[in-house]
Amino acid sequence: MEDNPHPPKRRRFFAQSSPSPPPEESDPVLLSTPQREIHSYAPIEEPSSDAPIFADPDEDVEPNAVSDGHIEEDEDAIDIQALGIRLDAVIFESFVGEKLPVDVLKQLDDVSGGDLQRAINMYLDGSWREVKESASKISRNQSPFTSLFGQNGKRKTPTDPGLGPSAPTPSSDEETAQRLDKMPAERYIGSFGAEGWATRSGRDLLKHGEEVFIERQQPQQTQKMVRRGKGKAVAVVPQPTSKRKDIVVRFSNSKGDEIGRLQHETAQFVSTLLDQKICVFKAVCVYAPDVLRTNETIYLQLNCYMLRQTFNPRAIRMVDSNRSTGLFEAKETEEEKALRLRQTSLVKLFNEIKLYPTSAGQDSKAKREGLLQVAEMAEEKEKEDAARGGSTPIKDEEEQQEGKELEQDQLDQLYKKAQTFDFNSPEAEPADTFAMDLRKYQKQALHWMLNKERDKKNEGQDESMHPLWEEYTWPVKDENDRELPIVENQEKFYVNPYSGELSLKFPVQEQNCLGGILADEMGLGKTIEMLSLVHSNRIEPEISADSGSKPLSLPRLPKNSDVVEPAPYTTLVVAPMSLLSQWASEAEAASKPGSLKTMIYYGADKSLDLRAQCSVANAHNAPNVIITSYGVVLSEFTQIANSANGSRGSSGGLFSVQFFRIILDEAHNIKNRQSKTAKACYELDAIHRWVLTGTPIVNRLEDLFSLVRFLRVEPWSNFAFWRTFITVPFESKDFLRALDVVQTVLEPLVMRRTKDMKQPDGTPLVFLPPKTIILEEIELSKAERAVYDFIYMYVKRSFAENMEAGSVMKSYTTIFAQILRLRQSCCHPTLVRKKEIVADEVEAEAAEADAKGLTDNMDLQALIDKFTSQENDKGEVNNYNAHVLQQIKEEAENECPICSNEPIEEMTVTACFHMACKKCLLSLIEYAKNKNEQARCFSCREPIHEKELYEVVKHEKENIPAAFQADASAEPEFSLRRIAAGKSSAKIDALITNLKRLRRENPGMKSVVFSQFTSFISLIEPALARERIQYVRFDGAMSQQQRSAVLGKFKTHVGGIVLLISLKAGGVGLNLTEAKRVFMMDPWWSFAVESQAIDRIHRMGQTEEVVVHRFIVKGSVEERMVHKIQERKKFIASSLGMMSAEEKRAQRIEDIKDLLS
């Protein structure tokens, strides 16, 4: 009730300025209005600013701008916020500062319904006269409490039939103001019964039907004005840590004597509603004992009136662009807290008065419960935090900042809604300069994108209500079932239960972002779809300008270097470096010759001044597409940021122009909103903004925020807003609501189709040949096993020690590093061992071999020659040897004498020239070793040694065209190679075996080998070289040119070739459909990452079956990673994992335990 002075004042303000109503704040041009308001009515708002969310920050700035009237109040009430109600003529007069005639007092009393406060205000603003006039036209009841509805008399409703809540013209500031103007200062919304308890005793203090005044005792105001940075004085709600929030709500009888307090539950929300000036309560005593004793219960009926001010949209915008410095605060700010209180209180109130939305997004009851729950949780959390004190604040903050990770299933759910794709949605034909045929769904995407780009704000499509809002109908009868005066054209009001915002205006779902998120799954052709858009929606330079006024077409430098020049013909593509050339080549392939000028803006190529290049004046030479990398964007951004003036224009770079369109490819690169790259991308200027990503959310909801921020989707691009509606509910476990909101954010922005989507006729969206994944178990050799076991024991011990000491989480990274070593040792022991030792071993072996007259790589022909020349000396034996070699040469398909395989796999010859499979011979030696016996040749029982085994290496000459192979020299060349020299790891052996088999069975087939460890790739390289297997390597350390050269070679090479590629560098974006075989050398924690890598090959354009081999070392952490952790990640995904931070930690420890079990 203390806020009573406000509405009448405001009303007066409107009355005065109704010809030019106050504009809505959202209009950027009129942002200065708050200043104006301060002088008109802010003084009165000032004392009430203990509700910061209402207060426009600018209003808080100037405590000096206090008007006379305010000072009067100030003096009287001592405290600026003390607007205490004293129902007393004396007080009234002392307030007003003058003696009043009795009739005026009487009138005022009538008009204000006996409410002193209102009376004072009305007197001060003069509205009481007005009311009197209009009120006299309405018959009024004499009952003391119905006189309350004297207010209704003020509902003089200017008739304006053109406007109605059902058919509002959105974004009309005038209309909003008018609407607001029409609304009475207070409007009845409902009533509810409440209990209170007496704080005093006495006789006849209160009787049935007597009017009761509800008031808020002022909390300790002195502490509440807090100085903030920039000299702003902001009133804050008392710190939760200092004391529990004061929520006492007292009530007094008509004489102004305090009778009692409201019951706790009621007081809780009533206090907030009063403090934040959302409504006023007028109460009537329903029952009170004649003789009242302290603590006795009094029954009241509370009639609630919404204040007009509440509906003022200006008051609601709690976050302004000028607050951006504080955007990234992780903790709930005071504003956010006040907002939360407001939101909860409103919801509680609506529950009490049984007001339900006439129209809302979904089951509003459940929603309400959810809201209340969230609020409670937030409170609890707050208490917890406070209780925990200062011991863990840093950690907590960190976690909050990080945002919780999403479980897979939650992601699935999100996407499920986002990808309810209508297969009958309209299609659009691309422009005829586009040279490719689009599939149906791609045409649909084009249509959607064209629509998004052309979607201007006032395109008269049917407006849907903003999904966060609910529609309510004003009650038409009062608590006594009497008709309430009707306010014309205001049957409804709107509430946003998420923010506590109220509005009289129909909240339209705004859609002013002229772009969106194209989130089709990999392989559906996002690039092509985007290129079709580039072709189909572009501004053609005016021909007349070209032919007629020649001077205009000459490029010239803009005069002012600080101004951002428009580049209306240019689309900027920002992509990871590895994809630049792919974009360029696809752009070329998709365009009719000469129809699209493409430019890669990277490295040395970027010396150009884009301002001149892309300006309107240079229309005919301006590039249509500029392709650049995230790195370039970042470096230009830091350059500008570090330059003295920080002006965008001076550099002539990406930031100096406003592009027609920006496309961020693989946009999850900016998923971290705090990363410099993300910030740099936000600063890029363009009319249309698009992001392409197969994974708009990688693992936390904040990932999506960054995209939304880039797209500049209001209001979600504001992190505080985002946090309030998405992060906080999500963190407080209200997943469904958070995800629900995210869905409403996503829905208009995102187009997402997946590969396994089925068209209505049941055919899949994209036909892909089958994919087979083979899990290959690898047995480590004894030496490898020893290395592995050693590390394993070490890690296990250290983990156990940490478990005991309880420092597992602290040394989490160390443990993980150790597990990394363990995983590396599965790949190749030398990844862990010191390089020098290995080198030494190799040398020693080589020396030994030299002594025996055998070099590492003997040419077979030379060997044969050698033996035939010795024929005379050694007779038959050597003859036989020569025969064996001859046999090999003739490629006789011998059967392995040990495993009966035909032909012998990886033919290996002993020193005594007996031939078997490599693995059979090795296992024979291994077997003997285990029994401490000397291994003997299976055939002649000569002692054999691992070091004296020779593998037959066939050198295929694939590059020679068949025509030339007829002559004798074309027979494959052979050589013998000592196995020990090429001794690699079990995994490399398995890879080689597979590649050789592939070469034998499918000559010319290309394959891709993925590993996480580039050092491992470096070890695979020599192994391939030894086998004379063609290969190329692609990793993150390569320059852009090198990368495209490598990919070019892989694609154009005739015949079989292997692409060695690091999982990180090549896991995304690349198109490797030339390959048909994939080898995953090591498992990743979640299969999704591997799967994405596999999809580089198994994607649109793949024509044959793809076979994937995953190498897993048997009985190792790898096996456990695949079978336990990857499996579990799938499992959790299906059970809607609702895990707290603690549970998560426990889970991580569980992960490690699993690995080490």
Binding site: C899, Y927, R936, S939
Partner: protein, 149 residues
């Protein structure tokens, strides 16, 4: 555990190209277990007899030799009362290049050429050395008694 390719191939070949005088049939429920019968070589005390053996291919086969035992009672210096056979290729001289077929041939050859200097059944070997005709007679007798049906 799946049967190694080698065992399958050997079995197929034993069926397809049987060795004269030797039969080896795998059990249906255990393909590593064979019922073997060997005909006594001509001009030996075991001529006319058909000797039953059991043969088992252990897990490590062919790294380890098969396990073979006579089921039919036989009087032979290198075969004991339990039917165990003393043969170098079944022990130290085993090589993975040897096969069921070759081993069975070796056993058949052993029947034709007993080697009392490397005995397993000491009493039989002793008698073979001291009274070879008597021993041979006993061997014949046993063959008649146990190895003919």
């Amino acid at each position: 555990m799946a049967l190694p390719k080698r065992i399958i191939k050997e079995t197929e070949r034993l069926v397809a190209e049987p060795v004269p005088g030797i039969q080896a049939v795998p059990h249906e429920d255990n393909l590593r277990y064979f019922d073997v019968s060997i005909h006594g070589p001509t001009q030996s005390p075991y001529e006319g007899g058909v000797f039953k053996l059991e043969l088992f291919l252990p897990e490590d086969y062919p790294m380890t030799p098969p396990k073979i035992r006579f089921l039919t009672k036989i009087y032979h210096p290198n075969i004991d009362r339990l039917g165990r056979i003393c043969l170098d290729v079944l022990k130290a001289n085993w090589s993975p290049a040897l096969q069921i077929r070759t081993i069975l041939l070796s056993i058949q050859a052993l029947l034709g050429a007993p080697n009392p200097d490397d005995p397993l059944a000491n009493d039989v070997a002793q008698r073979w050395k001291e009274d070879e005709p008597g021993a041979i007679a006993t061997a014949r007798e046993w063959t008649q008694t146990y190895a003919t049906s």
